[in-house]
Symmetry: C2
Subunit: 741 residues, 2 copies
């Protein structure tokens, strides 16, 4: 369905209790405005005025102590009184901060389940405000009232004209609501409504707008989940702006709903991330964890408001792509009855560029490569057919330059497009134009829309020319379901987001990564020194070098001989974290040196002066060195996999996932890093045992998922030997996060 179809939304009855809690934020039967004012320009008058202006059909109940009329409406001394006059589902609270708790109590007495607290003066102002906010949350929680805000600008349901907001956007003489299927949820008020104004301006229809402000109770992700679940199938996509990301269970609900989501998560550079990045050891920054969480949820992350809206525009194509079944022979065909999500089925990667400008075609090709997509290789049949249509001064190879003469002939242009769209190697078309004048547009749009309709191949348009040359072009294309962007780079960026949605949808079916079954995991946490930790890992079937703790010189010598006359000696001293730097690791120890090295390592002391032991292990031949780590984060436990050994900090190349993960995730993590090349064999070296590495990491991920809060596991290096020879975990450490600092 297009976003336009979603606009005709009546006021249906509440479906069930749970989602209904938030529903009045966008579909209320009646709205109380607590702190309403009749003074022109007063903030407390704006929502009343806006609800009237934008045609809200529910009841509007100004609440003010003196009961004087507001904007011509009767007012009430309390929400409770208002609720006697009609149905009140939601209240906007616009009184001074110190009066907000009383207002919420009034709402509870009136049976209002959710309040929009616009008032500021809470956590954003300092400790006193934060205490007031805690009190608000506590009281509301006890009364069973949900709180949006405080310090927020309100909400909008466009289909019903519900502008329960005081944003200056709605004062604009030229402002009109543009209803549609996209929900827009923003933690920031000013930026959020600025973005809404830009969405309306470009014609991107929004069904629901929610500003969450301080998020004392209701967060952006919970709102998204409620919209996705409760407004299906009207809600065809969600756009969000967030500065924090606390609530992963809500994100999982959004994922389960199948509604595509894009999010602008700001603060990539917050002080914490900066501090962490300033010393080379900090490979897993907070922002990488956010990336992992959004990726897990199938959310497309963007970096800019403009990109957020660009991705919103392409969401209209998600159902089209998901409905387009790719058969086993690779030939696409329509499958109207196919399920919405086909695990492993739908994909979108190979892009055909159709253009009348060589320059635009090259820029599109550049962007396609930069975004990890492919320029489709057209089939010989396609090229032969195009040769019959495209003049000699055009180009039939992708990017296909059909020339202006073909574009100006609707039949020929249609024929060329159809030929390209029917090529089984084409997943999507990017059509690039420059100066489009009035007369060009209609024929072009009709041809593009027909091809989309006939073949199910998504089409995205680039128009690198001034709007005023064909002022209706953008609207015409939008009405035809053709997202249009000013440059090839922006169009391709949107197509890449579309590809991510399709991929996330494909995987969603088989994406329920369960906790590992099988035998009970060893209690890793009981083993904090290297030697016993390695024994525990070995007990779990994981490959560690053969070795043992030795207690004297003779024992050390015997251990060397047992290891084949050459061994590794390691000091195992409580609290000695950087033992290599402290001289606590000696390689290539032969029988002759055993006693001397034993003495030296045995003499090492920990920070508290305590003595340790010496671990003697077999020598492991050189191989590819990998690091695997696991740590606890506010968003959950993560696993990192990357280039290890002495190059750890220099190459600084790790992949990161929230646990749990499965074998496919591990394969992807390896492929994301330079490990892919290292394992394949660099500079003539033989390929390493990638399969054994993946097995080991998958098993480690399962074990790590059982670690207690705060525990950090660090396995570096894990040496990967030649194919068939497996891997060895050479070093292992387990600590509480605090111990490392």
């Amino acid at each position: 369905m297009t976003s336009e179809q979603a606009s005709a939304s009546p006021l249906p009855a509440r479906p069930d209790a749970r989602p209904a809690a938030l529903r009045p934020l966008w579909v209320a039967r009646g709205i109380a405005v607590v702190g309403a004012s009749d003074r022109a320009g007063a903030v407390g008058r704006l929502p009343v005025q806006f609800l009237q202006r934008y045609g809200y059909t529910g009841g509007i109940y100004p609440v003010r102590p003196d009961g004087a009329p507001v904007a011509g409406l009767t007012s009430y001394p309390s929400v409770e009184e208002a609720a006697r006059a009609g149905e009140v589902d939601v209240a906007m609270v616009m009184v001074a901060a110190d009066k907000v708790v009383a207002a919420v109590q009034d709402c509870a007495a009136a049976g209002v389940g959710v309040v929009i607290v616009c008032s500021s003066g809470f956590a954003e102002t300092g400790p006193a405000g934060a205490a007031l906010q805690d009190e608000l949350v506590r009281v509301a929680g006890e009364l069973g009232v949900r709180v949006l805000g405080p310090n927020c600008i309100g909400t909008v349901g466009t289909a019903t004209g519900q502008v329960s907001s005081f944003s200056p956007l709605f004062s604009g003489a030229s402002t009109q609501l543009v209803p549609g299927g996209i929900g827009f949820v923003s933690q920031s008020g000013a930026l959020g409504y600025g973005a809404v104004s830009l969405a309306f301006e470009r014609g991107l229809g929004l069904g629901w707008v929610v500003n969450t402000g301080n998020e004392a109770d209701i967060g952006a992700t919970e709102v998204m989940a409620a919209l996705a679940e409760e407004q299906q199938p009207r809600c065809t996509g969600l756009l969000g702006y967030a500065e924090s990301l606390g609530d992963l269970s809500s994100l999982a609900r959004v994922t389960a709903s199948g509604v595509p989501v894009a999010m602008l998560k700001a603060g990539r550079s917050d002080a914490g991330a900066r501090a962490a990045a300033s010393h080379t050891g900090a490979l897993a920054t907070g922002d990488k964890v956010v990336d992992a969480a959004l990726r897990r949820a199938g959310v497309v992350r963007v970096d800019d408001v403009e990109e957020l809206l660009d991705v919103g525009d392409v969401m209209v194509l998600v159902p089209l792509v998901q409905d387009r079944q790719v058969g086993s022979d690779g030939v696409p065909g329509r499958a109207p009855g196919a399920p919405l999500r086909q695990p492993g089925g739908a994909r979108l990667r190979r892009i055909a560029v159709v253009t009348t400008s060589g320059g635009s075609g090259i820029l599109a090709a550049d962007a396609i490569e930069a975004r990890g997509l492919e320029l489709a290789a057209l089939a010989d049949d396609t090229l032969a057919d195009l040769d019959q249509i495209v003049p000699a001064y055009g180009s039939t190879a992708n990017p296909v330059d059909v020339t202006a003469s073909v574009m100006s002939n609707p039949d020929l242009f249609d024929q060329a497009l159809t030929t390209i769209a029917q090529d089984p190697g084409v997943d999507a078309i990017v059509a690039c134009f420059c100066v489009l004048t009035g007369s060009d547009v209609d024929a072009v749009v009709q041809a593009l829309a027909r091809v989309r309709e006939r073949t199910g191949v998504p089409v995205v348009v680039t128009r690198t020319g001034a709007d005023h040359l064909a002022p209706d072009a953008a609207a015409t294309m939008r009405a035809a379901g053709l997202p249009v962007y000013p440059t090839p780079a922006r169009a391709v960026r949107a197509v890449a987001a579309l590809a991510q949605f399709v991929q996330a949808g494909s995987r969603a079916g088989g994406n329920d990564r369960d906790q590992p079954a099988g035998h009970a995991p060893p209690d890793l946490w009981a083993h904090t020194d290297e030697s016993s930790l390695k024994q525990a890992l070995a007990g779990a079937g994981l490959p560690v070098p053969v070795g043992r703790l030795v207690s004297d010189r003779d024992d050390a010598l015997a251990a060397v001989e047992q290891a084949g006359g050459q061994a590794v000696f390691k000091a195992v001293v409580p609290g000695l974290l950087h033992k290599s730097e402290a001289g606590g690791v000696v390689l290539d120890v032969t029988s002759e040196r055993a006693a001397e090295v034993y003495d030296r390592l045995g003499a090492l002391r920990g920070p508290d002066g305590s003595a340790g032991q010496v671990l003697v292990e077999e020598m492991v031949p050189p191989g590819v060195e990998v690091l695997v780590g696991s740590a606890d984060t506010p968003l959950g436990r993560i696993l990192t996999v990357g280039v290890g050994g002495v190059l750890t900090e220099v190459v600084a190349d790790v992949a990161l996932r929230l646990l749990p993960i499965d074998r496919q995730d591990v394969e992807e993590m390896v492929d994301e890093t330079r490990l892919r090349l290292l394992l394949a064999g660099a500079r003539g070296r033989p390929p390493a045992d990638r399969a054994a590495l993946v097995d080991t990491i998958a098993a480690l991920a399962d074990l790590a998922a059982t670690l207690p809060a705060g525990a950090e596991l660090d396995l570096n290096p894990i040496t990967v030997l030649a194919e068939g020879d497996g891997v060895r975990i050479l070093d292992a450490a387990l600590a509480l996060a605090d111990e490392e600092d």
Copy 2:
């Protein structure tokens, strides 16, 4: 000067002979249109019509065989005839391809020095067209006529209404020329005029527009150089779109002019670059060479048409920043008489963000970090002063959230801005707003403009809200010299470009890298095998391991003992390029193994069956492995520096420059790569001898500059030992480029 001031351009006399050749492309006294037509809609009628419509005051001379009038003007049977009627400086040639040469001869006879060949049917259509194009260039060259095109859409000089173009842009009923100080030069016609339409639409004034088409004779960079030299000081910036970059001497002329230049060089993903990138060995792609060339020329490279125009908008601030002298105490002050370019003086890196939206501030901070700029650390005095102005619910730390209440009070807003701008740690201000309504705008703009004027600190504005809410805001800000962008990311991207212009300008003064003086370089080319090449390098004072060729077993043994009882044996066999993979390098050879290893390596044969010799070298201890290479490219000889040894392909981290370079360039190259960290000492290893490496690379760069065309030098690894121990060139190869394939 602002772009608006540049618009009042009369028709001055020709300054001198050389630039005058191209000058009529934008300031002609009279224009002949060869192939003019009177038929409505005919391509041959459009330029005549456009010249009339846009108020061209020079002579318009339609040329057509029958002499019939065109658009009400007298026509002439030839350019020669037209030139008898008035002054003709330039001719547009719009006849069929096979008649173009004759038209050029006619132009030459008329004394016309430059022609705009719009006709297509040349190199873009295949071999026959290419031959015709060669003939055109040959004839024009003999006649002393310069050719723009063929296959181009023409040129525009906006100040004089000279629309010598047939772009459909100029047919648009609402199209108006927007004069200004920026020159726009595009190889692509459709995309170029599309971008011009977008520039006009946003109010970015263009003084000169040139489409170079097939570039058979005149290329985009030559046009840029001519504009920069001839239109100074009117020309305040140049924007270019190019698909190839052949003419570095013109780029150097642009650099010397001091006019800031931004270029969209398309084809990052062209087939060649793709093929090269597909095998890991290809570290130095063609695109990296383009980057190096543009960097050398101080050109800001962009990736998108929108970014090109965004950078065009910020060019107005370049003189402001260059005029703002930073004194030795770091306190900025106005220095009106200061020279335009101060080597090492001007810089722009520390950005203050002033906002009324916390969200915009965070997004700006993210973008500042992502673009390699810094969020300015405000001085204690500044923070104390701001504390007096900004309410508690705002924020005085950068990003400074002044709050809407301060913004709505012009005096307070002005005071806050001035305080920030006067902080010596602030190089530029990004002011971020969201929904701006009519009444907000004027006060905001006045305050921003005043601060800019008073302190000389450049200000860039972000307005993340719909235009229609304050339709005149964009023009008001532009008139006040305040570039405005829809999102913080785009504003910061523009500021980063501004910083690049300033840096390029700073370095321009001391940027004349001469060929090395000193003693004559050794003739490296005479030494193609490793042993003699190393001897030549040693002769030039460069550090190679001690070693010698041995001729028999006894000699090999003696060499090992000479090397201290342990040596490296290397096969030196003509044509054996990958000798490590062929087993031609053996480390740790002791006296006992000398004979056996000698025999084995001596038995290796080259591809043509020829035998080689064995080189015995001292063992060099492990260190940081570096690669240095030099190759010839169409843009000149390059030097690459990066992580070497077995990690070369895996880490794939090299910096690249066109030669010649100086020591400062080498330092920058090292810092651009992971060598910076490796040399500083990773994982507790001691720092390596960076100074010796830089010396060696600088000397190698000088040597490489003397290599003959096509020669490729490959030094990998160069081992960098601990500080004070210097470096050793462990492997060296020199070949013709073709031999490697």
